[in-house]
Amino acid sequence: MKKEMVHNYFKKYFIRLIKQAGFGALALLVLGIFYQPVQASGLKVAAVFETPIEEPWVNQIHVALLQAKKEMGIEYTWSESVKSADFARVMREYAENGYKLITGDSFGAERIARRVARDYPDVSFVFGSGIGPAEPNFGVFDNWIHEPAYLSGMIAGKMTKSNVLGVVAAMPIPEVNRLSNAFCNGAKEVNNKVRCKFSFIGSFFDPPKAKEAALAQIEAGADVLYAERFGVIEACAEKGALAISNMSDQASLGPNTVITGPVWDMWPTIKHVVTLVKAGVPTAQDFGGFSFMGKGGSYLAPYHKWENKLPADVKSMVEKRKQEILDGTHRVDVDESTPHSD
C-alpha cells in the first residue's frame, strides 16, 4: 500500500518533470528561431599555437594579431598549447565557425595543418612553417631575422675580450641554424680571431638547461652569448658576461647584461595578410619576406642602457651596415647548415 503510494508519487512527479522539460525545450526552440546572433563586422581571425603563449616565437605572432585587432578591427581568438593530436580538431572548429583567416605555428603538425586546410577552400590558412606554401589556401611565414642577428654578431665580435662567443640554441633546425650562423658570421666579419661555441639543449622551453649550457660556455671562455633561448641571460648576469637577446626586446631581463638583439616583428606580415584576406585575394604564398628588415619585419632592439656604453665606432659601424641592408645593397647570407663549435 505504502509502496504503491510512493510509486504513484514518483510517476506523477516524473510526468510533471517531463512536461516541464518539454515546455522548456519548446521555449528554447522559439527563442532560437527569433534570436539572431549580433553579427560583428570585423574579419574573424583565429590562431592555433602549439606552445604556451609566453614562448617568444609564438608571442610575436600573438602581439601582432592583438595590434591588428586594435588597428584593423578584426575579431581575434586563439588557442594555445594545442598538441599535434588536437591540432586538426581545433583548426576544424575554427574553420567551421566562420573564421576566415586561421594562423599560428605548424612546425609540429605540418602535414596535419595542410590536410585540414584542403577541406576548407574558402578559409585562408597562413602558418609559421619550415616548408613551403600549398595551393589553394595554405600560406606560410617564418622568422627571417638573420639580418639583425648578423648585426648583433658584429657588435658581439667587437665587444668580446676573450674572442670566444657562445650560442645557446634549442635544436639545429633551419630557423635556428640561420640565426646562429648569421650571428657568428657577423662577428667573424669584424674580428677574424673570433671563435664561436654552439650548444643545443634539445627542447624549446627548458630555461634551467639553457642556463647550465650557458654557464658551461662561460667557463670555457665565452664572454658574449647569443641567448637564442630563455635562461641564457640569467647565466650571463650571474657571471658578468654580456648577452644578445633574441626574438623580442628582452633588456628588462638584464639591463646591464643585454646589449641588444634581433627582434622579430610580425606586424608587417599580419597587416599584409589581413588586408589580402579582406580583399578576397588568395593567400597561398610565402610571406617570409615580410620578416626582413627592409619590410620592418625585424630590427635590432634598442640599446637602452647601452646607448652610452657602446663605443661610438661600433655604433656607427652597425648603423652603416644596417643602412646597406635597408637599401638592399648588402645581403646577409642565409646559411642553414648545422653549426659546430670552433
Binding site: S81, P172, S203, F205, D206, E212, Q217, E219, L253, S341
Partner: protein, 314 residues
C-alpha cells in the same frame, strides 16, 4: 683535447654536477618512499610541475623563497593524497592513475598560472636562491667551492640521503613501510595499517617532488615556464630502479646522470669532439641505461609494488 680536460677539472664542472643532480636526488628519493610502500607514483612529472608553479607563485607574492618551497611541498602532498585515494582507497591501476594525476597536475599548473598571471610576454621572475657558503668548510681548497658553496636546498637534498636511509632501514616506521610494500597481508596481520602507511609514503613522495620542482624554478632558474620539468620526473622513475630501491644507490644514480649531463654540455661547447648534437644530448640517458643493465641486473622491486591491497582478498 686540453680544452676539455681543463674544463673537466674546473671547479665549475663539479659545482654544476651537484646543482644539476639536486632536483633528481629530491624527486628520486621521493619516488623511492612511494615505491617502497608499494605504490608506483607516476604522477611525478605533473606533481613536479604543479609544485614548481605553486611554489613560484607563493614566492612571487610573499617575497619569501622558503614559503615558496613550503607551498610547493604542500601542493605535492595534496596531489599525492589524490594519488593515494585512487590507488590505495579505490585500488585502481597505479599506471593509469599515475598518468591521470600527471595530466591533471599539468592542467592545474597551466590553469592556475593563467588565472594568476594572465598571458605575460616575458615570464615574471623572482630573486632566486643564491649559494650559501658554509663557514670554514667552504675554504677547503677544491672541495669547498664544489660541495660547500651551494644553495641551501642542495644541502638539504644531500642530507636527505642518509636521513632517508636511516628512516627506511633503522626505524620501526621504515620497517612497517617496507613490509607494506613487500607483503601487505603480513603487515596487516601484525597490526600495521596498510592504507595509512601507503598514504604516508605517497605524501612524502609528493612533498619531495614538489621541492624538486621548486628547486628548478627558484634555484636553477628564477621564473616559472611550462617546459621547466621536461621529462626530469620520468628520469627519476628510472633512477629508482637504477638505485635498486635504495637511497644511497639512487642518489648515486642521480649524480651519475648529472655528471654526464654536465659533461655533455661541456663537450658540445668544445670543438674537440665533432659529433651530431643529438649524440651529446642522448649521452646521459644512454649511459644511465647501460650502467643500469650492468649494475642493477639483480634488482628486485618491492613484491607488492603495483598491487592494490584489499583486506579480505588473498
Amino acid at each position: 683535447m686540453d680544452e676539455i680536460l681543463s674544463q673537466i677539472f674546473h671547479i665549475g664542472f663539479f659545482a654544476a654536477l651537484i646543482r644539476i643532480a639536486t632536483p633528481f636526488i629530491l624527486a628520486t628519493i621521493g619516488e623511492l618512499f612511494a615505491e617502497r610502500s608499494g605504490v608506483l607514483n607516476l604522477g611525478i612529472e605533473g606533481i613536479m610541475l604543479f609544485g614548481a608553479m605553486s611554489g613560484f607563485t607563493m614566492a612571487y607574492f610573499s617575497n619569501s623563497l622558503w614559503l615558496g618551497v613550503l607551498a610547493a611541498m604542500l601542493t605535492g602532498m595534496l596531489m599525492a593524497i589524490l594519488m593515494g585515494f585512487l590507488t590505495v582507497s579505490l585500488g585502481l591501476s597505479q599506471h593509469v592513475s599515475g598518468i591521470g594525476v600527471t595530466l591533471l597536475s599539468t592542467g592545474f599548473a597551466f590553469f592556475f598560472y593563467r588565472l594568476i598571471f594572465g598571458q605575460p610576454s616575458t615570464p615574471p621572475n623572482i630573486k632566486a636562491f643564491t649559494p650559501v657558503g658554509i663557514p670554514v668548510l667552504m675554504d677547503i681548497p677544491w672541495v669547498g667551492p664544489v660541495l660547500f658553496q651551494q644553495a641551501a636546498l642542495t644541502y638539504l637534498a644531500l642530507l636527505l640521503v642518509p636521513l632517508s636511509a636511516f628512516l627506511l632501514f633503522q626505524t620501526p616506521w621504515g620497517l612497517n613501510l617496507r613490509t607494506v610494500g613487500e607483503n601487505p597481508h603480513a603487515a596487516d596481520s601484525a597490526g600495521v595499517n596498510v592504507s595509512a602507511m601507503r598514504y604516508q609514503g605517497l605524501m612524502i613522495s609528493g612533498a619531495l617532488m614538489g621541492a624538486a620542482g621548486a628547486f628548478l624554478v627558484m634555484v636553477q632558474f628564477n621564473a616559472f615556464t611550462f617546459g621547466v620539468i621536461s621529462g626530469r620526473g620520468w628520469v627519476c622513475i628510472a633512477l629508482v630502479v637504477f638505485g635498486q630501491w635504495g637511497p644511497w644507490k639512487s642518489a648515486a644514480g642521480a649524480l651519475l646522470f648529472a655528471l654526464i649531463d654536465a659533461l655533455q654540455l661541456r663537450l658540445q661547447a668544445s670543438s674537440a669532439i665533432n659529433l651530431p648534437y643529438q649524440v651529446f644530448l642522448m649521452m646521459p640517458f644512454v649511459l644511465t641505461i647501460v650502467t643500469m643493465t650492468l649494475v642493477s641486473r639483480n634488482a628486485r622491486a618491492p613484491s607488492a609494488l603495483l598491487k592494490p591491497f584489499r583486506k579480505e582478498e588473498r
